[in-house]
Amino acid sequence: MNDTPLLKVSAVSKFYGQRIGCKEVSFDLWPGEVLAIVGESGSGKTTLLNCISTRLMPTAGSVEYTMRDGTVRDLYHMSEAERRFLMRTDWGFVHQNPADGLRMTVSAGANVGERLMAVGDRHYGNIRATASDWLSRVEIGVDRIDDAPRAFSGGMRQRLQIARNLVTGPRLVFMDEPTGGLDVSVQARLLDLVRGLVNDLGLSAIIVTHDLAVARLLSHRMMVMKDGYVIEQGLTDRVLDDPREPYTQLLVSSILQV
């Protein structure tokens, strides 16, 4: 087993004035590991995700990240230039609403190619070939490469957003309710796709979801949040099969059985 965690989160807290966003959250994320953060709306899971991904500065705490060259850096002490570079190369962020993560007015091919161009790729033919390859990997017809995402369905947009994020071969992907707002059948397809990609690419991922089925299918480990605190964490099947905390038991018992 690899002995350095990819991400080391230590006592991260975020306050909005007097209100708690999230409080003293600590955990390690290892290479290839998928962590689900579950909890109901307002439990602080998105705040936590935004803090870890440096989209939001926490009130206290630190997050250490192991860079590609093996050095360990404190994310909150990096320059903004370094953080932004990390975000568009070694990380991905999949938003619940694809419009937040895509450029809706430019073509699918350019959406996927943007990250390549951002890291200095200046060969149109290569960029287009890579974009086509990624579109087919996320099951979007290559004949749609010049269509803008406005012409895509919700599921397609979400798949395009995933391709756009994965094209630079990131090692860590953050996902905020990636299946929220999609039909059940579209959800299933997307989940299957994400599961396959995560396995094939050996990605580490942190997925925020209120849907325990999503957590079950995608994650190795999960954390349950309530009122800003992590109240229970462990192996995903342990937490779901043998929930210990009252709130977790309530969550698990609230799953609709079909």
């Binding site: 230039a81 430019v106 091919g109």
Partner: protein, 299 residues
């Protein structure tokens, strides 16, 4: 220093070159900063001018701030000295600064321009002032000013190529023909104002000082003399300028930017120099284009 304007000079009751001296100093400071950071958009407190936005208020303020009584001013619009915009601005400075004006590129010390760079190579000591409608090259891809500023600061210019990528994807080639983005001195990506991309190579290593003023958007930027200016492109789709099949119908010039002129209702047309001064010069020197030759033969 404010040159005193004698009360019997015939000048209107304005300060020299219309703007008050404090404003000129403010604008000059912005210009100096712009020259020090080639291609960087310096914000300035753009003033209301006695003409509407879109008529060159940015360029006029830059010209007003740098012009002195001994300067010789040339104003062109789309290459021509005799179009409304050029005539109005020239008249404006004659009225408020009483400066000498010219249409000859070589004689001018300051050339204010909209949409063209003169064909004649500019030389040391000349200043070319561009009127700029939208200074931000990233604007149409990224609407947030906070974000575009950050992108400039961090040199994140991938998005610029997204635009060019789209062009090739839809048209098979980079079809952008004007306001074609350039990288200045290897650092800032800059919008050269809506000049045709034909003129982009003229900006590169020019001996003249190039100043850009955007009045409505309140930005000034500059290319100092002898500065590298590179048009963005792809390795497999390199930057190219427009080519014209025929020489100028009036003066026979080749490798110049031509305008299409409709001659009649039967589809007759001709292509002539967009730079009127350049065309006249050549004709004076005896160069004769196709159409002129026919006319002369008919006479």
């Amino acid at each position: 220093m404010s040159p005193e304007v004698p009360s019997d000079s015939g000048l209107a009751a304005y300060n020299f070159a219309y703007l008050d001296e404090q404003t000129k100093r403010m604008i000059r400071r912005a210009i100096l900063k712009a020259i020090a950071i080639p291609g960087y958009q310096v914000p300035f407190a753009s003033r209301e001018m006695p003409m509407p936005y879109g008529w060159g208020t940015g360029g006029v303020q830059v010209t007003a701030s740098i012009i002195g009584p001994d300067d010789i001013l040339k104003v062109i619009d789309q290459g021509a000295d005799d179009t409304t915009n050029a005539v109005s601005i020239r008249a404006f400075f004659q009225k408020v600064a009483n400066v000498a004006v010219t249409t000859h590129t070589g004689d001018a010390t300051i050339i204010q321009t909209r949409h063209r760079i003169p064909e004649q190579t500019l030389s040391e000591g000349q200043v070319l002032v561009y009127q700029v409608p939208i200074p931000e090259p990233l604007r149409f891809l990224e609407p947030r000013e906070t974000e575009t500023r950050k992108m400039h600061a961090l040199e994140e210019y991938g998005l610029m190529h997204v635009k060019l990528y789209e062009d090739i994807a839809y048209n098979g080639r980079i079809s952008k023909t004007y306001a074609y983005p350039v990288k200045v001195a290897g650092r800032y990506v800059m919008d050269p104002s809506p000049t045709p991309k034909f003129d982009n190579p003229k900006m590169h290593m020019s001996e003249a000082l190039q100043l850009f003023g955007a009045g409505r958007e309140k930005r000034i930027y500059a290319i100092p003399p002898h500065t590298e200016v590179v048009s963005l492109d792809f390795e497999d789709h390199p930057f190219e300028i427009q080519r014209f099949d025929k020489p100028c119908a009036m003066c026979g010039a080749e490798n110049v930017y031509l305008d299409e002129v409709i001659l009649d209702d039967k589809g007759g047309r001709m292509f002539v120099c967009s730079d009127t001064d350049h065309c006249e010069d050549r004709r004076e020197q005896g160069h004769v284009g196709e159409l002129l030759a026919i006319q002369e033969a008919a006479e």
